[in-house]
């Protein structure tokens, strides 16, 4: 699951650095904007059947690859 999430994220952010550095700040680096965030939620729903609502989280709750994986796994 972790690997799949990282692949999705790399595709959305168009940068493999997100697979290597799980603590990178996706917001400060402009890697994940509102658009990428929405795409991520849609893909997570399609791939794992886990429904996350766009207004459910603060952006800071999902600001690094590690945090994103954590939240999705907690729901899985």
């Amino acid at each position: 699951m972790k690997e799949k999430i990282l692949n999705m994220l790399a595709e959305i952010c168009e940068d493999d650095i997100v697979k290597e550095n799980l603590e990178i700040d996706l917001l400060k680096t402009d890697l994940l904007d509102s658009l990428g965030f929405a795409e991520l939620l849609a893909l997570v729903e399609e791939e794992f059947g886990i429904v996350l609502s766009p207004s459910e989280f603060q952006r800071e709750d999902l600001s690094t690859p590690a945090k994103i994986i954590g939240i999705i796994q907690a729901r899985g």
């Binding site: 795409e39 893909l43 207004s55």
Partner: protein, 279 residues
């Protein structure tokens, strides 16, 4: 006869209905709900709070020190808001009167002065609303963050009428994009993003009012956001230069002009001038 604050009531109610549908809101206590919907500092013109954020402050019991600090911030915001609204906005409004001719340079002057007037008027009001809620122990989110310092159009919407643009982001834009991804409605990400920005901003324009100027304002900003997205994703010039000082300065300058032109549309003045030119 209108109902005071009906459009902002709608935002607060609709977001709760959507979040109930999503299963994030599971209970709605009557008293707290009424408090949230009718919270008077933000009743008529926002800022638009979120019910789950409101809940945290609603149930929180502040310590003496903590409350004093918060009330102090509240008073500061109210005073700053008064300066914005009663001194600066009024002054800019007066100056707007000097630019009521139909020459092109009048339009430019009008756009800038109207832009500053609108900012100080609305940001001033918002500061007072936020300040009042702080005194009541509710940390209503801020609505403006130095909008004229925006480095690009997307950055502008992170700084201007923030609670409205975040509302649109969370309840329209994100959901539209998610739908498109799941239904595979577009071939490329850029097409999808562009459509998302256009839909999002057009609806925002419609919300301001069903007049040609507001609709045009929505389309204008939708188009600018779409073009920004395409430019930033495609242009190697952008990728190479975006962190350079000179580029940032140029980008800020261009953004400010685009923003001010948007206000010229928003004020109704542009269409008025174009009509005058046609006769």
């Amino acid at each position: 006869m209108g109902i005071l604050g009906i459009s902002y009531l709608t935002f607060r109610t609709v977001q709760m209905i959507i979040e109930m549908y999503d299963g994030i809101i599971t209970e709605v206590p009557v008293l707290e709900y009424s408090g949230f919907i009718l919270f008077f500092p933000a009743l008529s013109c926002g800022p638009i709070d979120r019910s789950r954020r409101f809940h945290e402050d609603w149930v929180k019991v502040y310590g003496r020190e903590e409350y004093l600090e918060m009330a102090g911030t509240g008073i500061y915001k109210i005073l700053l808001g008064l300066i914005y609204k009663l001194i600066l906005a009024v002054q800019f409004y007066k100056w707007m009167g000097f630019f009521d001719g139909s020459q092109w340079y009048c339009a430019i002057g009008y756009a800038y002065l109207y832009g500053f007037y609108l900012f100080f008027d609305f940001a001033g009001y918002s500061l007072m609303a936020v300040g009042t809620s702080y005194i009541l122990g509710i940390r209503t989110p801020d609505n403006f963050r130095k909008p004229f310092a925006a480095k690009d159009m997307r950055d502008f919407w992170d700084r201007w009428h923030i609670t409205l643009s975040y509302w649109f982001r969370d309840f329209i834009f994100s959901r539209f994009i998610m739908k498109c991804v799941k239904k595979k409605w577009f071939h490329t990400r850029l097409q999808r993003a562009s459509a998302g920005f256009m839909v999002n901003m057009f609806i925002m324009g419609m919300w301001h009012g069903l007049t040609p100027s507001y609709l045009l304002y929505g389309l204008y900003h939708g188009m600018l956001l779409a073009l920004t997205e395409i430019y930033q994703k495609k242009s190697s010039f952008y990728k190479k230069n975006k962190d350079k000082r000179a580029y940032k300065l140029a980008s800020w300058f261009v953004t400010l002009q685009l923003v001010m032109f948007g206000f010229l549309i928003f004020s109704g003045r542009l269409l008025e001038l174009l009509n005058v030119g046609g006769h």
